[in-house]
Symmetry: C2
Subunit: 469 residues, 2 copies
């Protein structure tokens, strides 16, 4: 690896000027969508659309090639056919471009030998010049923190800004994660599609993102890596500094085979990967949903000190569903202190489960009682974390508002994972305000409990790295 590449990564993610190679006003061309993305994303720097047949595009002056641009160009986003790419790279090198986003497909993922040759050729050009390349065969990358949407999907800019950065080996999965994130208000900083990995893969991005001030947690969607050992080394060095969560597919033989065709590398043996992840302190999860839920918990909550959970619920059923998942994930139901138990018994009528889980249902008409239950459970030394589940039921419409202050007070000290469920947008305002204070919400009790289980798993992984074991 060129030493320049790493500092050039900074320029790639935070450019002052961007050339779009293949910019077009024809919606049938990807260069059209890339222009739309950059504009919709609100990029603050200079944009130079490149197209030999245009003098102006989307209100910007167009140039025939990057060599004609009268100013420095930090990043080139390339969306022209594969066979043109080596020449474009040569021009980029001549222009001292610092980073390239290569959207074009048709390299080592195709069935023909020349795809591999082409990729080798451009990799050599880029490596010699120390230019980091995102792609080829990618949707691109988005740095929401710098309003820089270098992808062919303008809607990526609608994802909320937050602390998670995603490195994805599949464009489709990155899109799906982003759309779910919009729906569930999960904030991202960078979203990167590595595609066929010319010279920037998981290891390089992990190394970069570990130092990136804007990234609090790193989520990865993985099919296979070329150099797993290097990935493990990079992750190990950073163990305990920042959470890394990975969703690795290729459990089945068939998807393993598919992976080879898709991105040119075998998904490899699933179990071996998982052993390596554990060793490196990387938290492995089993689905797209779990990846998002876990990343959200990790950027929202403090880590639990231990495995003792209190399950508080507005109705018994959701509390029980949460208990099942908690126990499955290695959490135990905390035994309340005598003091806590006394306070809860005083607050709740004898109609409900008052140990742990606590069914607060019969007390919904008394906001003080509910607050007292939550406060005493959260203040109990024996409680490391809380799962709180409440279903809206017309009569309890004020429930979340009533608990809000208590939850916000404790949210920074102990993880509180909620499933506050209401029809339509009834509780959305309260939920958003809780999430802003570090109290995340999930659509089901099971998902809240599973996310807590993963917080605990990560806490153990991280401690091990810091010599606590």
């Amino acid at each position: 690896m060129m030493p320049a590449k790493f500092t050039n990564l900074e320029a790639l993610f935070y450019p002052h000027s961007v050339a779009i190679v293949g910019a077009s006003k024809n919606p049938g061309k990807l260069g059209y969508h890339v222009m739309k993305s950059l504009i919709r994303g609100g990029f603050k720097g200079e944009l130079f659309p490149l197209n030999p047949r245009e003098t102006e595009l989307f209100g910007f002056r167009a140039y025939p090639s990057v060599l004609e641009v009268p100013q420095e160009v930090d990043v080139a986003v390339v969306a022209l056919p594969a066979q043109m790419v080596p020449d474009i790279f040569r021009q980029c090198v001549a222009k001292s471009v610092r980073g390239i986003v290569l959207i074009t497909a048709g390299f080592k993922e195709i069935e023909y030998e020349y795809g591999w040759q082409l990729q080798d050729e451009i990799a050599e050009l880029a490596n010699q010049a120390g230019i980091p390349v995102i792609g080829p065969n990618t949707f691109g990358m988005i740095n929401l923190g710098a309003a820089f949407n270098a992808s062919f999907t303008p809607e990526f800019s609608d994802v909320e800004r937050g602390g998670i950065s995603l490195v994805s080996q599949s464009g489709g999965m990155a899109h799906m994660i982003a759309f779910m994130a919009m729906e569930e208000h999960v904030g991202f900083n960078k979203i990167i599609g590595i595609g066929n990995r010319c010279n920037v893969g998981f290891a390089e991005l992990l190394e970069y993102l570990m130092e990136d001030q804007d990234t609090q947690a790193i989520a990865m969607y993985m099919e296979g890596v070329d150099n797993p050992r290097r990935l493990v080394e990079v992750a190990k060095k950073a163990r305990g500094k920042k959470p890394i969560i990975v969703y690795k597919v290729g459990k089945s033989q068939i998807s393993d085979k598919a992976s080879k065709f898709h991105t040119g590398s075998l998904a490899g043996q699933y179990e071996i990967y998982h052993g390596a992840f554990r060793q490196a302190g990387i938290l492995a999860v089993g689905s797209l949903e779990e990846l998002l839920d876990t990343a959200k918990a990790l950027v929202s909550c403090p880590l639990p000190r231990g495995n003792k959970v209190a399950v508080l619920s507005g109705q018994a059923g959701p509390g029980m569903a949460a208990c099942d998942v908690c126990e499955e994930k290695g959490l135990v139901l905390a035994a309340f202190s005598e003091e806590t138990q006394r306070r809860i018994k005083r607050a709740l009528p004898p109609l409900a489960i008052r140990t742990n889980p606590v069914d607060m249902g019969p007390a919904w008409y008394s906001p003080e009682a509910i607050r007292e239950v939550a406060n005493s459970a959260l203040g109990d030394e024996n409680v490391d974390a809380v799962v709180l589940c409440i279903a809206y039921a017309s009569a309890n419409i004020g429930a979340v508002e009533g608990l809000s202050e208590v939850l916000k007070n404790w949210g920074a000290k102990k993880p509180i994972l909620c499933c506050l469920s209401s029809p339509g947008e009834i509780w959305d305002g309260e939920i958003r305000s809780l999430e802003e204070e570090g109290v995340p919400n999930y659509p089901t009790p099971e998902r809240a409990a599973r996310a807590l289980g993963n917080l605990l798993r990560y806490q153990k992984l991280a401690r091990r790295g810091l010599g606590h074991e």
Copy 2:
């Protein structure tokens, strides 16, 4: 069981006249919310609010008691304190009321002996008169098919009308399922909270819903049952006639204990339950989400003839995630016929995975190519079911519309489970129209694949009952 009770269940779900015992204009009373529900639900029959201190409520003439109502009363919805309930029941018997929804709590779920005594007393009254009672300690019940919302939550009426009926032992879970159903446009017919089960439990409702024309599939949320043998017998009799799906909590010891307090019966040994479910042809699932996803698939799709699936995707990653889950759930990737393989190779460029899973990504600019791929896979004798995953990406905005006709044509013949994922509402119209034609959509590839796995599991369970094994 009284013989009258069963025909009375019909009157309970489809009443012509309803008395609300404890109707109130005070939002602090559940009787207020019940009135709101009946009105918002658009109930077409007669409503008689009962309240000795009012002559009129919500524009309806109020009466002091059910005995004063000058017409027949089919159903009484009761929302007054527990100690008043025996007298109310006596009045209902005298008035020949045919069914009761008893929302009131404070019976066998409480810590004191008198709760049990009270429940025994009212059960005897109801049983002698052959009156089926939903509850006590329930949110009530909703028959969306008859615009009859006899619950304390008006928003239940916003759930779309459809073929699933839900029997839930937890009000909280029923609410959460209903809110998710609204979000994901899953239609329900009846939603019933059985509460403490005075004389109507799982077995009675199963028996009734099995004959109910409006119910195509029965979903159950279960904590524990008093008489599992009877439940198994009822289910066995109906095996293969209508799908029954159950989500049973109480896997952990602690939620088992909680269940005892909550509804007065132990959740019991999880494994024993699961053995009984298998025996009875009941499909067991592991989460609220899976319950909803599976029920949706069962009312939308035909059952797969076998376990051979084709995974078609707009991008390789989501297809691989779907493959992993398919294989985990006992499905195998179909080997295409030579004819199909030839047609797909002709339709797709050599840039993509063209076996199975099929990555249709590189052909998004050619709607004909995509249609050809879908059509040939769906028409292949070797293919029993299809999972189709496409992430929106600006340039492929027309993808779903282009495939729509093919999918609708095949939707009634083979199960097609989709994950069509777009930001905001971009594809909502197309997705809704597909769902109306029996092609269900799921938020993630894994959830679509898991739902298909459950269709296959149910097909096996049902066949066994019909002597096919």
